[in-house]
Amino acid sequence: MIDNHILAPVFIHLFTAIIQLIAWRKTISQRFLSVGGAFIGLLIAIRLFAKVYNEGPLHMNASNWEAPFGIVFVADLLSVTMVLLTSIAGFAVSIFSSIGLNRQRMLYGYFPIFHFLLMGLNGAFLTGDIFNLYVWFEVIIISSFVLMTLGGRKAQLEGAVKYMAMNILASTFFLTGIGILYGITGSLNMADLSLKIREFDNKALVGITSVFFIMGFGIKSAVFPLYYWLPSSYHTPPSAVAATFGGLLTKVGIYAILRVFSLIFIPDDFTRNLFMVLAVLTILTGAFGALIKTNIRRLFSYLIVCHIGFMLGGIAMFSKIALMGTVLYLIHDIIVKTNMFLIAGIIRQIRGTMDMNKLGGLYKNYPLISLIIALVLFSLVGIPPLSGFWPKIYLFQEAFIEKQYFFIIALIVGSLVTMYVIAKMWADVFWKDTPEGIEVDDKFVDLPPFKKILLVLPILLLCAVTLYIGLNVENIIILVDKITNELLDTSLYIRTVLGDKVFEQ
């Protein structure tokens, strides 16, 4: 069904950014604009989600050129779910950054760039054209370079160089893959590609092409062996920025893998084995990396890598139950990871450091905030009935059916290590007393009450979403069930884009 308004989540952030550029260096009005824009974006995303959930996939032909010739934007259930999660996370981060960021960064255009980033993310989720997906990826990485280097401290620049080098490499692989794909099929429309690749005889060439996409998306989503840019760059920018990155950027890679490998390259045995090996190694390296870190944000960065492996493992098995696990984990992960980095930000506000050896006594001073944080941490670990628990059931179940014992071992190791490091962090940061001889630099106490509320509110909001996912999981599972049906049977997607006539011949 055609709906010309499906790009509204993209445009709202574009116009918010433009108005903020007009209000250049007026940080107070930029803050209001940012929160307002993100809130309207959230409302639009909810409306779009409700419409797609009730009426089925929507599409729009940009410039009125019909698919497969023009660029087409498609809002199917997976896309709008991602847009909705992005909007929730974006709204929370926007509130948090209005207080949790220093004024110097705001003067140099933090807010406009943040909204350009959200625009890029929404665009990447909504596009139905593979080259257009590449363009949105570029929008995302250019905005994220700027966000990462804003402030210009030495550590930031060092992290940004690694980040930039690896992401440009990833884009190059992705672009090469698109080039080959266009060469062998003559199309860029994903639905059209899906049909043409099915009829293409030279399966070996298709397999090789898919490796380019695995490399490109693998680097972006921090999959073994090309994950190391992530832990060495995500701890450098301010927490509000790291929250957007940690919650959303790697997940775009997973979304792209889900999209491309469900539509264009249906995984064969080779791809599945490759994904499985990568998934197991990603989980293990991420977990072992997290074990030895004492800086909270570095620890979280390794946990991101570890949990990307969970999702990749689900894609590797590529069956109904496994994909349900992956999508459910994706939904849980975006909200929780964003929240984790916001929590790291608030710990920094309270104690002025993120080194676990120098932290302590938070529970004694701030029992309520600590309890909220505890809920989030438990969700991450996956204590039943919180949200991290449910996807793992599906992943375990399918891994036992498919006899993927290495993956089971990796899942167990990954989950145990997550639990261990989070328990250790809880004990170090919240329970133990502040170490002797360390001066506590508490900026939080002196803040006026409304600023305190604005810092805690986003964490509370995301925590509520996490609790909803965990406690009302039966509703989420209905959604995830629909999404996986669409992923496994793409005829609805193709019919939406190309019309009913394609299956008649």
Partner: protein, 137 residues
Amino acid sequence: MRSIILQTATRYLLPILLLFSFFLLLRGHYYPGGGFVGGLVASIAFVLHSFANGTEATMKILKRKPLSLIPIGLGISATSVVLPTFFGLPPMTGLWWEEKIPVIGMIGSALFFDLGVYLVVVGVVLTILFTISLTKD
């Protein structure tokens, strides 16, 4: 280094180059040209002026910071992209004025998109160059 020849030549070249950049902008819909090229030519005109008379003099004839052109240009482009959705058409569809206008020809929303690109390019190029040339070492 100030050269009287360059200064005199620039006085005549600046309007000609600006006129040429408008020509490229208007020509761009069906022929080579368009907002990007036009914007580059226009910024070259100002760069030439700053070579001849110094950056401060160029800032003075521009009256406002080139940075402020970026949001204006982006706004014009983005509006022309979104405008068709209010007429029940997909974004980016070309809307055309029915009457032909002398000299310019047909006017459509694509022209405003190009105009936005033109302003953004001028704004970005001049901001970069002025920032570099005004940095004290």
